[in-house]
Structures are given as structure tokens and as C-alpha cells.
């Protein structure tokens, strides 16, 4: 589903605008990241896109068509997970999915197989009859996303879906979103955890104080703002002097040094892609440096965001 926003705006009192002049195109089948500080207008924008909130000005078209007075038909094509949506504690995943499936007016012959599909996809089969209040946070989040995909929407809108999840759960979320995109679903996701959006989003849009600061293809934006940097943290058991020589030869900037859990740590900034980092690692090992771990510290998106918002924090 392709979505176009034209001069979209929302005010709650006629004076202050939560969002204003937002013009954006979300290509069909893409994953778009919506980034911004608290109060930037992300949730308001997502709620308008999900049709639960009417805009004060501007327009939204879905595949070239504006939503009519009766939005129920359009909502069957949208799956929306708002910020902080809790579950019904006493309902099991099966009952919860069935409830929402019926709210989306799915007939039993479609609904029951869809429930089984979602329970399998989101690895909830073993907990199908467990009250939701007894599920872990990761399972609850998976159930919420399953609810959004149950009726086969063409547009998935997720507001801070990774909030409060542990790293394993966030990794699972990334896998799910990738699978969702593979099904041809357009995904619009907002998150503060930019690392999760990195390598996942095709497009991104940054909001500040209700206005769009930048939007477009992730690679183009990184290119535009010259944030072709990767930051890594190396943990070494030995050979730190040799490591510094290799890094200097490879023109990797050492941002910081430290000592952690019996290992020397080096934070380095690499001007290039992951291939360059792989070559550096091979050189380090070849020079006798005892490398314990190499992990990426900051995402490229985070660099862009920090660059754009350094003087404009809301």
C-alpha cells in the first residue's frame, strides 16, 4: 500500500500544532522509520495514518484514494499498534486474537486458520491458552504485533514496538518485520532505538517539533549528510600496541580507550562499510592481536539523527 501525506497537520486547540505541513510519500512494500524526540509529533502522525485521529488540515491518500466518511473498510487494511497498548490480562492469546479477528469482521473460516498461522509465526503455540498476564514481555509484544497482522493488512503501523524489550526480543522483532516486509506489507515504525531501525528501514523521516526535517532513502540521507561512519568497540586480551599500529595504517580513528572485565577496550571509528571492518579485523588477527569481541556501537541512523538534531532538541 502506498501512502501519501500532503501538508498534514493536527492541532488540538487551534493554537499549538502537534504536526504541521507534513508532506511525505511512503512507498508500497517498504519499511519506513519515523524518528524524533518526545513531543515531535510521531504518535500523532501515526494515529492520523491509522485513521483513529482526524487531521486538522492536509490530506492522506492510500493507494491514491482518500479515506471516505466510513473508515471501517480502510481499517481492515491497516494494522496499528499504538504506544503503550496493554493486553487483556485474563484472555489467552487464542481468545485475544479471536476477539480482535471478530472486531475486524473476519468470518470463522478465515479467522481460525489465521489464528493458528499467527500463533505459529510468532512462536506462541505453547502459550496459546495461557492468560496474557502470565506471558513474558517479549511474548506480549509478539502477541500485540500478531493482533495487528491477523487480518492480513497491507499497512502495518507500529509506535515504539521495541520499547522495554530485551535484546533477544528486539532481535525477534527485527526478524518479524523483515518477514512482514517479505509478504509485501508496507511498514511504518517509530522508535527511539535507532540501532533497531538500522539495516531494517528502507526509508526514514525525522520529525522535530511537529515538522519534517528530512525524509527519504536511508542510503541517500547518509550520503547526503556524510555520515558514512561505523563505530566499533574492540575488546582485546593482548597486543594493544600492535592493534594501534594496524588501526593507524587503516586510518581508523580511535575514539576512546578503556579497560573492562579484564580486557582492554578500544572504540574506533571506521570510514567505510563492513567490508573494511572485516579487513581490519583480519589484519589485527594477522598482527597477533588477541581480539575477544568486535561489536558495533552506534548505528548509522543514530549518527544522522544526532547530526541533524544536535542544536534542535525539542
Amino acid at each position: 500500500m502506498r501512502i501519501e501525506l500532503r501538508d498534514l497537520g493536527k492541532t488540538y486547540d487551534g493554537e499549538r500544532w502537534a504536526v504541521r505541513g507534513l508532506t511525505l510519500t511512503i512507498p508500497s512494500g517498504s519499511i519506513v522509520g519515523l524518528i524524533g524526540p518526545n513531543g515531535a509529533g510521531k504518535s500523532t502522525t501515526l494515529r492520523m495514518l491509522s485513521t483513529v485521529l482526524a487531521p486538522s488540515e492536509g490530506s492522506i491518500t492510500f493507494d491514491g484514494q482518500a479515506p471516505g466518511a466510513d473508515k471501517t473498510a480502510l481499517r481492515r487494511q491497516i494494522g496499528f499498534l499504538g504506544d503503550g497498548n496493554p493486553l487483556y490480562k485474563h484472555m489467552s492469546p487464542t481468545e485475544y486474537l479471536r476477539f480482535f479477528g471478530q472486531c475486524f469482521q473476519l468470518t470463522p473460516d478465515i479467522l481460525e486458520p489465521a489464528i493458528e498461522d499467527m500463533l505459529t509465526t510468532f512462536d506462541l503455540r505453547d502459550k496459546r491458552d495461557t492468560p496474557s498476564g502470565a506471558l513474558s514481555k517479549g511474548m506480549r509484544q509478539r502477541l500485540l504485533i500478531a493482533r495487528c497482522l491477523l487480518h492480513g493488512p497491507r499497512l502495518l503501523i507500529l509506535d515504539e514496538p521495541a520499547d522495554g524489550l530485551d535484546p533477544r526480543a528486539r532481535s525477534d522483532l527485527r526478524t518479524i518485520l523483515a518477514q512482514t516486509r517479505a509478504r509485501g506489507v508496507t511498514v511504518l515504525i517509530s522508535s527511539h532505538i535507532l540501532r533497531e531501525l538500522d539495516d531494517l528501514c528502507d526509508q526514514m523521516a525525522i520529525l522535530q517539533q511537529g515538522k519534517l526535517v528530512v525524509a527519504g532513502d536511508v542510503a541517500d540521507i547518509i550520503e547526503r549528510y556524510d555520515v558514512r561512519r561505523f563505530v566499533y568497540q574492540l575488546r582485546l586480551l593482548g597486543g594493544a600496541p600492535a592493534a594501534r599500529e594496524v588501526l593507524a595504517r587503516r586510518r581508523a580513528l580511535i575514539e576512546g580507550e578503556g579497560f573492562e572485565d579484564g580486557c582492554e577496550t578500544l572504540s574506533i571509528q571506521v570510514q567505510g562499510g563492513e567490508e573494511l571492518m572485516a579487513d581490519i579485523l583480519a589484519d589485527l588477527v594477522g598482527a597477533g592481536v588477541r581480539v575477544v569481541t568486535v561489536s558495533r556501537v552506534r548505528s548509522r541512523l543514530e549518527d544522522v539523527y544526532n547530526h541533524l538534531s544536535e542544536d534542535r532538541v525539542a
Binding site: 488540538y12 491509522s50 482526524a54 471501517t72 481499517r75 497498548n85 484472555m91 479471536r98 487480518h151
Partner: protein, 623 residues
Amino acid sequence: MPLSRQLHAASLPFVTRALRGGRKLRYIGAAVLLAMLSVVIGLWLALGSGTLEHELRVGFKLERPMYLQAQQDFKIFAETPEELRSLQAAVHKHTSSAGLRDIADAVVVNNYGAEMQVVDRVSEALDLVTRVRHPNVFKIDADLRDPAEALLARHDLKNLGMTRGWDRWSEDEMNAQLRVVLARDLIPEVTTYASPLTVADAIRVTGLVAGTFAMLLLMLFAPVLAGTQLAQEVHENTLQPLTGTALSARQLVLGMTLGPAAVIALLAAPQLLLFLAAAASVGHILPALGFVAVCLASGAFLTMFAQLAGLALGRQRSSGMLGVTLLALLAPLTMLGAVLALELPARGVGVLGLLPQGAASHMLLESFLPAGTAMRCPNLDATELASAQWAVTIGALGMLCFAWLGLRALERRVGELSPTALSRGEALLGALVSIVLVTLANPYYENTYSAAADFYLLNFAFVLVPMAILLMMRVPMAETPTALRRVPVGPLMVEFAAGLALFFAVCVACMGVDNLDIMNSPVALAYLAWTITVAGLLTLRVAALPMSWLAKLWVGVCALALGVSFVHTVQWTRSEYLKPADILGFWQVSPLLGVLQAVMLVLIPAALLRALRHPASTTPTES
């Protein structure tokens, strides 16, 4: 989409949720148990021979007290088989001719227990029979004179002429009792107590019990359940995802109503079946059907009202607290309605239209104990009974109208379709219905002392409540910081005043403009205007702006001042003898209080207006 499919789409998810898992079977089990309980209670109440059942039957006027039965039916009740034997022996001894002569001559002494009971009863009967000799004291029925004389002659008591005891009953009652005494030949019946009600009466009582349960389920528990569930959805933020589904706002509201309604329907269905079966067999089926209709209409209104309360208060209060509050509000109204229906004063039949619990109770009783008979409210004539029926019918229609308005308000709030819960036209309709129901409850009676003021001033106080609620529904609500809220005070106050002007126009139509005696007192008019202004501003303040504890205290003070102002309005309307010095009523108590009253007359409306124009001043400061 056809209406039936819309309703099905709305109800399916919520009814399925309410009856999921083992819940359906449990509710069915509970319904069967409740129905059995109704039958057991009904049979026990009607046919039980214990003291408690007897007292309850006497309380519900289904039976005369035991002492009255004993006197009027010339019986003696034994509690045990041994006592029964003793009483029978004593009767045999004291009802022979010699025994009767001893009683007549008061020579029976040192009697106790069974002996005493028999002697007392026979002595009373003998006293009654001898009154035939005193026609100036007791006008005996012609057909009883000869049998009485014959009885006295048979036992050689014909020279007995003294009366004993004292007149306790009417002549009709005395003749009735004499008839029984003569039929039993001065020999009292000794028996153990048993309920005088028949099987048909037992079915009636069972029907009443089942109907009472059904009424409680539909008009008390259904609103509480629906209100608390919606409050819980709001409190736990589970309502928001529902607004993004394929259900329209109206379907969502209907679904959230029908879910709890399904539970209540399961519990109430057997009760209603029992009730209707009893009414069809030994009662009156038309009032029974009317009872069901009133319960459904009133239940719909009360459910919508409770859900609106849940939606409004769910964010600040837990659902449990809201449930307790609703129960505390509705339970006393239910009891009040039951008392009203049982007693039904002639001038109070119209209240049945305003109090749905009263209307339902009245129709329940009409199904088995029609008013205007010896069993219930014998003082009501045919006109008053017809007025009661009209009041119930108009009241039910009014409740349906309010239920529809409640539905409109809910779907606008839930779906955020409009800043205000009701449109101007809908609020006007609500105002009209309120005015009709209040006027019906307290109509104008000519030729009574202070008829006019009793009519329109009292009704003004009543109609102020629904008008205030309707005004709240007209206040624009949005998710805006308090400091930035804008309340259209002027237009809303004009609407409020217009609604009350309509009320006064109806009053004038009922009683004539000449009887609008408030127009003769400028002071009363001024106080009335102040009352209306402050009532409107206070309503807007409560609806639109946050309430800190200090604000709640201030609102309480304003409400008190409203009461004082209304009392002054009534005083200045009804009295011709008040002087200018009495304008400030508290001046008579103390000049200082009088000054304070004057200050409050200015301060209160000014403060309320200021709060509404500058909402930022009402925002609680964050610590």
C-alpha cells in the same frame, strides 16, 4: 449493511469475549440456581408455617397477623402437639354449659397456659354474643339475633346481661366475628398454624420473587457491570486499539453494551420465564409484558448512563470504585421505587414516570397485586390508576429517548467524532423530555395552598439536574492541556437559559400566566436569575476544567450558596411580608454573615467566570 448484520458484527466479538471458555456454562449454572432459588423462596414465603414466613407475609400484606386471625376466625393456635392436646382438653372442659356459666360468672380462677388461652377466647366470644341484648351499643345483623338468643338459651345463659370488655372493632367486623362464633356454637377451633395462602397464591409470590430478581438484574446489575467494564477499558487503555478496528464507533458502543448484557440476559432469562408463566397462569399477563418492556427501556437508559460515567471517570478512578459508586446510587433508588409502588399515594402517581425503578416495581405488582384493590392501595380511584399507567408509559418512552441520547453521546466520545457529546438539537430534545417527565411527576393542582409555587418552583429544582447534565454534554472536550482549553461560555449559557425558559413556558401553559407569582417579586426574580447563572457556570466549571481538592471544596461552597439562593427565591415568591432588610437572609442572624452573603453573591459568579475564561489558573501546580 442491514441493521441485523451491523448488530451481529457489533455483538459477536464482545458477546464471545464475555462468554468465552467455561464462563458460559458457569453463567447458565448460576441462572438455573437462581431460578431454583426464586421457586424455593416463593414457595417458602407463601406456604411456610414458621414465624419468620408469617411475619414476612404480614409485612407484605399477604396475610393478617396471627392474633387477628385468632380473634376474627375464633381460633386458638397451638405450637406443639402437646399444646394442641392440652388446648383441646381445655376447650372440651370450658365449652360445656357448666363451663360457660363459670366463665360468665367469672368463677374460673387459677388458670394458666392452655386453660387461660381457652378461657380468654371463650370469654371474648361470650361477651360478643351477649351484646345482642344491647342494640343501642351494637347494631347486630338481623339474621344473627335469633341464633344468638338461641345459643344463650341453650346454655342457660339467657339471664346474662352484662357486657364485658370494650369495643375494639367496627360493627362490620363485630358482626363478621359474631357470625363465626355462632357457626362454631361458641367452641373455638384449636389448630396448629399453617399458611392461609393457596397454591395459586404461592405461584403469585414465586412470580413476584422471580420478577424482583429480573428487575434487579436488568436495572441494577446490568448498568453497574457495563459501566465498570467500560471504565476498566479506559483505565487500562484497552479502548484505543478497539477504535482502530473495522467496527464503527456506534458498533463499538453497542458491542460494549451487549457484551455485559449477554451475561445479564443469561441470568435473567429463567427469571423472566418464571415470572411470565406465573403471570399467565394466576396473574395478569398484560401488566407483566408491560413490566418487561419497562425493565428493558429503563435498563437501556441506566446502562448508557453508567457507561457515560465509566467513560468520564475511568481515567481518574478505578473500575471498582466506580462500580461501588454506581451501586450506592442505584440501590437506594431501587428501594425507593419499590416503596413508592407499594404505597403509591394518590398525588404521587406521576412520579412513576420520573423514577424508572418505581415504574418497574409498579408494573411488577400490577401483574399480581393490582392497585385499587383490597390487596394494594385501595384508596386509588379509576382516574388515579389510569394516571399511573400513563405515567409509566410516558416514562418508559422517555427512558428510551434518554437511552438513545446516551448512545449518541457515547459513540461521539468513543469515536472522537465531535468535540461535544450531544448536538444542540439532541440537547433540546433531552430538555423537552426532562420537562415533560418532571411536570408529570408533580403536576399543577388547582385550589391548593400555594399551588403555583409548589408546582413550578419545586419542578424547577428537579429539572435543574437533567438540564445541568445536558449542559455538560454540550461542553467541547479534547485532549488539550488545561491552560489551552477554550470553553464557549456565552453560547452555552444561552442554551442553558433557553432550556429553563422553555420549562417556565410549559409551567405557564399548565397554570396560566396569572399564577406565575414570582413575577410580582423583583427580589425573587433576581435570586432566580442568580441561581440559574451560577448553576450554569458551576456545571461548566466541573465539566471542562480539572478539579483539585481545593476546587472540589469551592464547588461544594458554590453548591451550598445555590441552595441558599433557591430558598430565598421561594421565600420571596411566597411571602408578601418580607421587608427590604430581608433581602440578605443571613443579615437577620448576624450583620457580619449578611455582609459575607453579599460578598459571595458577587464573588461566586465572578470566580467561576474567571476560571472558565482563564483555565490556566485552575491547573494544579506540580510539586
